[in-house]
């Protein structure tokens, strides 16, 4: 963990060598989700509510998933950009160092410009929370924090799966963005507005539902009595990263036996 922060600081120093580009990209990153959010706003302006969800409730959904996305794009960028590491043969270098491949890949790249996106989602979060009549308790606050954490874990898990594929092929990795970008777009709305199978897929296969939809039922008091389960869903969702981790290990083993 200490090493991870060392990596973080060296990358931060590198980034600061290019200040102008940093600011421009960050501002750009601020406006991408902003435009999506404006769309969301006008949608509710017109329809008032969707399947019993009010504007600020959906805004909360939106804020949480975008926050998780920007955090994971910033801190797990190493896995997201892993193909370039393999193509350039840099992965061999990681293997001759006495640390786990996981922490080294994670430390191979950071994308600090995602701070713009993060800021945008924080603003939405604060705005939504201040307009919702929630009775706050410590547990609810913890649940909210866990929601974001589980989102980061799930996105990171998907990046890891995509990265593992690089050991076999470096082409066709766009598949993964169906799940990251696609998942993010889907999960910015509560899952119950979709078809049953879509909701199921994003609950049981790639558990984006546990990032916002399910625990929000607890926080917003929409639940049907299963409060404890809804509260714990972010924790369960976080477990998604475990199989991803195993798949990753398998990929590394494959790489070392084929060397391709």
């Amino acid at each position: 963990m200490k090493l991870y922060f060392k990596y973080l600081s060296i990358h931060f120093k590198s980034q600061m060598q290019y200040r102008t580009s940093f600011w421009l990209l960050s501002i750009g990153q601020f406006f991408i989700p902003f435009s999506i959010f404006v769309g969301l706003y006008f949608l509710f302006e017109r329809f008032g509510q969707i399947k019993g969800w009010q504007f600020f409730e959906v805004a909360l959904c939106f804020a949480v998933i975008h926050m998780a996305f920007s955090l994971s794009e910033c801190f797990a960028r190493g896995f997201d950009m892993f193909s370039s590491l393999v193509v350039k043969g840099e992965f061999d270098r990681l293997l001759v160092r006495p640390r786990s491949t996981f922490v080294q890949v994670l430390g191979s790249k950071f994308e600090f410009t995602r701070v713009g996106r993060l800021l945008q989602s924080v603003i939405v979060l604060v705005w939504a929370l201040s307009n919702l009549p929630i009775e706050w308790s410590t547990i609810k606050a913890i649940t909210l924090a866990l929601m974001i954490v589980s989102g980061v874990f799930i996105f990171t898990g998907i990046y890891m799966l995509a990265a593992t594929m690089c050991f076999w092929t470096v082409q066709g990795l766009e598949v993964a963005s169906i799940f990251t970008d696609g998942g993010r777009e889907m999960a910015q709305y509560p899952l119950n507005i979709y078809q049953k199978w879509v909701a199921r897929f994003f609950t049981y296969v790639i558990p984006f539902g546990t990032v916002n939809y399910l625990p929000l039922q607890y926080i917003l008091g929409k639940g049907d009595g299963n409060e404890l389960i809804h509260m714990l869903t972010p924790v369960l969702g976080s477990l998604f990263i475990l199989p991803c981790f195993l798949v990753w290990q398998f990929g590394v083993r494959h790489y070392r036996s084929t060397g391709s």
């Binding site: 090493l3 060296i10 840099e90 293997l95 006495p98 036996s257 060397g259």
Partner: protein
């Protein structure tokens, strides 16, 4: 210290064929060909040796280095280095080795070199005090004082290579693998790098395994060469032996006062001839250089004579030909 026994490794390579139809077919089904990168390689290296590992491109040099440094797992064979099996005890083992890939950098591009060194210190968990003394020594012997504060992207190739070598020695490895350490360097940098490799070998007893295409590297550094071609071990022994075995040719260049008669000396072959100069290649097993010169002086009025040993480069070319690799 290093012991390889019967190491073999083969790769599966997808066949690529031309044509749109073939490419479409390849989407669903791919034929593979197996390439034997290494066949039954065995050798031992003692502590403190400098070994030149040579062979033409694609001979299997990098594969061997990758196996010895724990990156790749061989198909069969045993490899023990300092009591470890590299690919099994990877994290424990790699603490003891340093690897320099001449064509790839291990330094962080945009930050001062010293920051990269500090990060490597943390990666290898080198205690602060030990780090301090090592780095001071490295900076001094490699003359890095003026460049450690500059970002890597501003360094010349020679400066960068010196930093790369320093970076791979921060954790005081017992063995160092150098994969083409002098590639692309100018003459001065090459000599500096060679000098340094010699120094660490002498003073710290670091075992050095070096792959290169520059035979001058080998000549300057290695007492022993291992030649590999098409995945098999062809020669393992010292450089002098190799020279004796294959380097029996010498080149004599003679300048003389104008003489238009052609010159023929038994046991020699004329490489070029003009009325003022002749270049002869002689086989020292058949005729002694002194005899040739006597012969020449009888025929012409000699002005200048030089004798050269066939460069090691040519010996290697001859070897490659001989083994058909």
């Amino acid at each position: 210290m290093i012991h390889l026994e019967g190491i073999s490794k083969s790769y599966k390579i997808a066949k690529r064929s031309s044509g749109l139809r073939q490419a479409a077919k390849a989407l669903f089904y791919r034929e593979h060909t197996t390439i034997n990168a290494l066949k039954d390689i065995s050798f031992s290296i003692k502590q403190g040796e400098i070994v030149g590992y040579i062979g033409p491109n694609g001979a299997g040099k990098s594969t061997t280095i990758k196996i010895m440094s724990g990156i790749l797992v061989p198909d069969t064979g045993k490899c023990t280095i300092m009591g470890y099996t590299p690919w099994k005890d990877r994290t424990q083992y790699v603490k003891n080795i340093g690897v320099v890939f001449g064509q790839r950098s291990q330094l962080w591009w945009d930050v001062p070199v010293i920051d990269s060194f500090e990060l490597l210190k943390d990666i290898y968990k080198v205690p602060q005090q030990e780090y301090k003394s090592t780095i001071d020594l490295l900076i001094e012997t490699l003359e890095l004082q003026e460049i450690v504060q500059s970002p890597v992207r501003q360094l010349s190739l020679g400066q960068r290579m010196r930093c790369e070598i320093a970076a791979s020695l921060i954790h005081n490895p017992k063995i160092i693998f150098l994969d083409e350490p002098t590639i692309g360097l100018d003459a001065v940098s090459k000599i500096a790098v060679r000098q340094f490799i010699k120094t660490i070998n002498k003073e710290k007893g670091v075992t050095v395994i070096l792959t290169t295409h520059d035979m001058n590297d080998i000549e300057a550094l290695a007492d022993r060469v291992i030649l590999i071609g098409k995945g098999t071990l062809l020669y393992d022994g010292n450089l002098e032996e190799l020279r004796k075995q294959f380097g029996t040719t010498k080149i004599i260049t003679a300048d003389y006062a104008k003489n238009t008669d052609p010159i023929q000396i038994p046991g020699t072959a004329a490489l070029s001839w003009t009325p003022e100069r002749i270049v002869l290649s002689i086989d020292t097993e058949r005729v002694k250089p002194s005899e040739v010169i006597t012969h020449l002086s009888n025929k012409v009025e000699l002005l200048d004579v030089t004798i050269e040993t066939k460069p090691i480069e040519d010996i290697i070319v001859q070897l490659y030909k001989e083994y058909q690799i």
